[in-house]
Amino acid sequence: MKMTGADVVIKALEQEGVEVIFGYPGGAVIPIYDKLYDSSIKHVLVRHEQAAAHAADGYARATGRTGVVIATSGPGATNLVTGIANACMDSIPMVVFTGQVALPAIGRDSFQEADITGITLPIVKHSYLVRDVNKLASTIKAAFQLAGTGRRGPVLIDLPKDIQTAEVEFDYPEHVSFRGYRLPGEPSAAEIYQAVKTIGISRRPVIYAGGGVITSGAAEELKEFAEKTQIPVTTTLMGKGAIPEDHPLSLGMVGMHGTYYANFAVSHSDLLIAVGARFDDRVTGRLDTFATQAKVIHIDIDAAELGKNVRPHHVLNGDAKLILQELLSRVEIPQTKEWLDQIAVWKKEHPLSYCQDKDKIKPQYVIEQLRKLAGEKAIVTTEVGQNQMWAAQYYKVSKPRTFISSGGLGTMGFGLPAAVGAQIGRPDDLVISISGDGSFQMNLQELATIVQQQLPIKIIILNNGYLGMVRQWQELFHDKRYSQTELIPVPDFVKLADAYGIAGYRAHSPEEVGPVLEQALNHPGAVVVDVVIDREENVFPMVPAGGTLTKMIGV
């Protein structure tokens, strides 16, 4: 039976088991939205296309499934760019459909025409412009296969309007093969053996776990490996949740705003076992002073990461879960007692700390209280900047896929739409969006989406009336010349919430924090909590950009 290209899109999504699409209609995708009208697939109508991409991203991070986005041609497509780049930097599986002007109109600067495959070229895992309706079904299959395997990433399919209305027989392949896309196999027995030997003779080993551990579902294996070998674990921002952060072997986060003891442990280690991490500059600081005494075992699914920033002594190319299982089955236990004693001293002497104040609310205190009240199943999304780093430091994560943050791209405005996606994907879990007043204002139009979808998201705004992290850099490195970082006037967020029909609360003083948060978390629907914090509180410890990890300020 013949059907239209738009039918093929919806049918293919149904066959892929897609339960939800995040999108925004427009002229060049009307045929798809017409078919969607009769489909059982849920559609979440955002208020700006950027939010559709971030919501699909948040959904993917919270569930492990591939996020799906639809936007129209031209501005609809270009509005997705930040969201696609964000997903690409953090290796998040996503399939993005954009409308395009009809094939004969392409290249003539037609109304709402944009070369979106060209624009997104450096920020996608792969992309397609569909020119033949007979190839539409296999293209969609290919996109899902690419997005959801290997190092995950966004795949874009540009759909000219006449492809959506052209007729074709529906034939959805079970599998598409590529000549130029191969997944890594497993490391050889010899490679595993050498790594095991190196681990066995190490005395000051550290595991450095990144987002790849979360993606591959290897958190259990990682914990087991760490416990069996008694090797301490530090994580990246993306790796939060790879090991419970209250675990005795957990060192918290490493890097620019990492803990003193994580940065010291890495810097003094004789063996660094990197699992699904990419030695990002925010982690390593100055590369030539990074972990100079350490041998490096680098485990990653992307061969191009092995040797990109740091020269490893052993590379194990493949899936983190499988490799950790292999290592576990042959492991040789190093003697780390002295090392762990040393780390315990560092932990005791330099814990994460802040000065509690009688009158001013400290943001770190807010995060601690929130963690206490929310429980370990709650999912937290963050924005970017100080709010993100306080959350990363003080929100102790217990499980994978419960801490959702824009790592590589550092996108302000990510957290609120990401919370929408997370709540859609995990409707029964508590979802909290930790935000700053600046980031919140970057995508606050999504409050309407939250109301329309009846999502009980708890939005906590750490309000200091500043673009806080930039202000912090200006304070520390530019003589307090606060150039364009004061975000005054800050709107009345309680009234703003009210305008959307959302409950709004405010906390002015430290003693209000606990009760207000409790009230907010117990509220059945969405809540905005405006927490008026100490305006010039800084995120410490801090390694200045390009500095050496052991040279932290604020410890």
């Binding site: 792969h126 412009l129 000549r179 130029g180 191009a304 040797g307």
Partner: protein
């Protein structure tokens, strides 16, 4: 050091953009790039000459291999290979110097492919050294235009005696 990469790619629109975009995004320098269809019409072959130390080249190769449309990448610089480039040179040629130019053309086993009132177009094929040498020899006459194809290269077959 300069490396010659032989890259097999899907013969599809946009592949060249992806490869060129990768080089500019990651800050690698392409010295030359030549591309054309192979004996299999679905596959094109690029010859890319790129400058960089071993670490840079390792990254170039790995990043190229990550592109879905790239089927295979080989660094053939170290292998025994044949490489060729074609150049067209339009040179100023008053009738009285034509004889001299034709001698140079003969020496390089190049060809004259067009004669104008005051100019000649010379076609020359060869490796880099030869192309450089003919260019240098013709420069005194006045080069009006010059166009090169970029290098193409192929690994030599196994020698009979080794079999």
């Amino acid at each position: 050091m300069r490396h010659i990469l032989a890259v097999l790619v899907e013969n599809q629109p946009g592949v060249l953009t992806r490869v060129a975009g990768l080089f500019s995004r990651r800050g690698y320098n392409i010295e030359s790039l030549a591309v054309g269809q192979t004996h299999d019409p679905e596959i094109s072959r690029m010859t890319i000459v790129v400058d960089g130390d071993d670490r840079v080249i390792e990254q170039v190769v790995k990043q190229l291999e990550k592109l879905v449309d790239v089927i295979n990448v080989r660094d053939i610089s170290e292998a025994e290979h044949v490489d060729r480039e074609l150049v067209l040179i339009k040179v100023k040629a008053e009738p009285k110097v034509r004889g001299e130019i034709m001698q140079i053309v003969d020496i390089f086993r190049a060809r004259i492919v067009d004669i104008g009132h005051n100019s000649l177009i010379i076609e020359c094929t060869g490796d880099e050294g030869k192309i450089k040498a003919i260019e240098k020899s013709l420069r005194p006459f006045g080069i009006l235009e010059l166009v090169r194809t970029g290098k193409i290269a192929m690994v030599r077959g196994q020698k009979y005696e080794e079999e």
